[in-house]
């Protein structure tokens, strides 16, 4: 860090401490905040999502639809066929950019002779993308995706239509359960570059406060909830 940068840093931190009338946190006061950081406290829990798993999945589907997504509940063997059928129902081309994910590769895409899949990141002119999801949040019908070699973020954003495959077992009650799963997978304090939580298609209320779908992200979101 340059001298100017160091001086600026000290100026901000010292200004805060001067206003708080103390020096850098030390002793028991510091231990207390360190403990809070090490063992995060959950806020008031939201009752509506504290349900047995089947009802949790149903609540997820209900909220996803309320938030303008469409939902199909399918068996693993039906995933590829449902994607083809969805594209046909909506007069969309039978081609898609798909996340290079081992989880998605388990489905029988070869059975869909007409469906052309390209595996990789999203491009500006993609019509349709297919991705998995790290989790689903029942409380609000929200999907959670994490970036990585198996999930380029651009697939969530650039195409007009986003098809998301989420497993019933990955549907949890609220954000806090997602954080717990993230810590389990990536370790405490470590996150992938991007965690996206997505609730329905892109929208804007910027003209006369009326919500219109398809601002910059997908206009349509179709969620396949897979019973495995």
């Amino acid at each position: 860090m340059s001298d100017t940068a160091n001086a600026a840093r000290a100026q901000v931190l010292d200004g805060i401490r001067r206003s708080l009338r103390r020096g850098p946190l030390a002793g028991p006061a510091r231990e207390a905040v360190e403990a809070r950081l090490a063992a995060p406290v959950r806020g008031p829990s939201v009752a509506r999502a504290r349900l047995p798993q089947p009802q949790k999945v149903a609540l997820f589907c209900q909220w996803a639809e309320t938030n303008n997504a469409t939902v199909a509940r399918v068996a693993p063997t039906e995933v590829a066929a449902e994607v083809s059928a969805y594209l046909a129902r909506n007069n969309l081309p039978a081609q898609a950019a798909m996340a290079p994910s081992p989880l998605l590769d388990r489905y029988d895409w070869a059975s869909q002779k007409m469906l052309a899949l390209r595996r990789g990141r999203g491009e500006g002119d993609d019509q349709v993308s297919i991705t998995g999801a790290f989790a689903g949040i029942a409380e609000t019908g929200t999907l959670v995706t994490v970036s990585g070699p198996d999930h380029p973020v651009s697939l969530n954003l650039l195409p007009d239509t986003h098809v998301v495959v989420v497993r019933e077992d990955d549907i949890v009650a609220g954000y806090e359960d997602v954080w717990a799963r993230l810590r389990e997978r990536y370790g405490k304090d470590v996150l992938p570059r991007t965690v996206n939580t997505i609730t329905g298609p892109s929208r804007t209320g910027d003209i006369e406060q009326a919500m219109e779908l398809g601002a910059h992200g997908p206009r349509r979101m179709h969620v396949l909830v897979v019973h495995e």
Partner: protein, 477 residues
């Protein structure tokens, strides 16, 4: 941004006479505020979440230096960079240097009120770098060379038809010459025009709703996905955030997110909540190679530990302005600077000085609706009252008001005289004709009666007189 807060009275008068603005503002009453009420009613835990949200922000503010240092440590460990900006000028210089370091020509900007506060756009343009606002509302007002009039809906002052006119003017040369009449067509056209700008941008500049100390992450909440394109496609992502945005953990973020969207637009959840942590990782197929966070103070640290500290809890949802009768009558531009409405009346005097902004804390009836809907329970009327007191202490209050207050103070301290004078005033007012229950004009009160009737005092004398007649004090427990 150049302040016109001094001209508040003039601005407000012009706003009241602006028919397009009044049409747009009429929608506020049935738009965001009604949807907020419904969302709050759907969630039985909403009030408990508001308490928790207030406590989290208070805790973070009391340990702000600690959490900022933790945040910095985590960002650095993941290959990101943190820059400290004591002033707006420092932030402008840092951002411009960062843009130059990657030879940036265009920047995809996601809506950030702090970027308005530091006036970054004009500065970048002067340096030959083109900032492109990508939030639809911000994009519209950038084309119109207007400042935002609302912190979450920057173009809320405009009608659909005005937007259509702006698009014809600016998109016409690109081949979009038809004047659109439907909102969805306007949205689609802006999407099309901005898509290429995203793909071409060298830098993505976003704000942050929260900085998470635990993980060194910046969190962004949007409905459009523009912030996400801004932080995914360009080679550099710059986050501009002020010091009070830092919170301890992801669990704390969960509480704040639950009250933020519901308070702002009445949505159960905003469409996109994105957690960015550092630059692109090995093996990632997209994402920026460079991740920088600029932490701005700009006068905020001096508010800590004072009676005004509560203003730093603000999470910028806009509920206070959506529910404010004054904002609802005059819109955001009349306030004359970046932050309008009740929170603006509290922040602006702090950020640009009470001398410049002394009108704003007076632009309130103290009806208290703002405080009653604030997700982090900021006592906004109380804070505006503090500013009024400081204004009075510094002799900034206009002479007429000071004399009036002095006269009232003189009388209020002399109860017998006070009753005699009010009884006399009551009888004089009766002479002007109490019959209709109101006066269309009164001497010395033209400022009031020019726009509305003055209510007549009820028959039967002053409150004190009636109180005494009804047995008043004697029946008090």
């Amino acid at each position: 941004m150049q302040s016109t807060a001094r001209d508040f009275k003039h601005n407000a008068g012009a706003a009241l006479a602006d028919a397009n603005l009044q049409d747009s503002l009429a929608k506020l009453k049935v738009g965001f505020s009604e949807r907020r009420r419904q969302a709050a009613e759907r969630l039985p835990e909403f009030e408990a979440l508001r308490d928790a949200a207030r406590d989290i922000k208070n805790h973070a503010l009391a340990h702000l230096d600690f959490y900022l240092e933790e945040f910095e440590r985590k960002v650095t460990a993941l290959g990101g960079h943190v820059h400290w900006a004591p002033t707006a000028e420092d932030a402008r210089r840092i951002i411009t240097e960062l843009c130059r370091s990657v030879g940036a020509r265009t920047i995809a900007k996601s809506k950030s009120m702090i970027s308005e506060e530091i006036g970054i756009n004009a500065h970048l343009e002067a340096a030959g770098i083109a900032p492109i606002e990508t939030d639809l509302g911000e994009y519209i007002i950038q084309l119109r060379h207007e400042p935002p009039s609302h912190i979450i809906a920057p173009a809320v002052h405009l009608t659909k038809d005005q937007v259509a006119g702006t698009f014809v003017e600016h998109h016409g040369p690109l081949g979009f010459t038809r004047r659109l009449t439907e909102r969805q067509d306007l949205v689609a056209e802006a999407r099309h025009v901005l898509r290429q700008k995203f793909l071409d941008a060298d830098v993505g500049l976003t704000g942050a709703n929260f900085l998470v100390a635990e993980t060194g992450s910046s969190m962004l909440v949007t409905n459009e996905g523009n912030a996400d394109l801004s932080n995914t496609l360009p080679k550099m992502h710059i986050v501009l955030a002020s010091i009070e945005k830092v919170i301890p953990t992801l669990e704390d973020a969960a509480v704040l997110l639950r009250v933020l969207a519901r308070s702002a637009t009445g949505q159960e959840s905003s469409t996109y909540t994105t957690i960015n942590t550092g630059p692109r990782r090995t093996g990632d197929l997209d994402g920026p190679a460079h991740y920088h966070v600029v932490i701005l103070d700009n006068g905020r640290s001096s508010v800590l530990g004072t009676e005004m500290q509560d203003m730093l809890r603000c999470i910028r949802c806009g509920a206070c302005m959506n529910h404010c009768p004054v904002y609802g009558a005059i819109g955001g531009h009349a306030y004359g600077w970046v932050y309008p409405g009740p929170i603006g009346s509290v922040l602006t005097p702090q950020l640009i000085g009470v001398e410049e902004a002394s009108n704003l804390p007076n632009a309130s009836t103290f009806c208290g609706r703002c405080e009653s809907v604030c997700p982090v329970r900021i006592p906004l009327p109380g804070l505006m009252r503090h500013w009024r007191e400081r204004e009075f202490e510094r002799h900034l209050t206009p002479k007429g008001v000071r004399q009036g207050l002095a006269l009232w103070g003189f009388l209020a301290r002399r109860p017998k005289l006070y009753r005699r004078v009010t009884g006399w005033a009551n009888r004089v007012l009766a002479l002007f004709g109490r019959g209709e229950g109101r006066y269309a004009s009164l001497p010395l009160a033209a400022g009031w009666t020019r726009f509305r009737d003055f209510p007549a005092p009820p028959a039967g004398g002053t409150f004190h007189a009636q109180w005494a007649r009804h047995g008043g004090a004697r029946t008090r427990p």
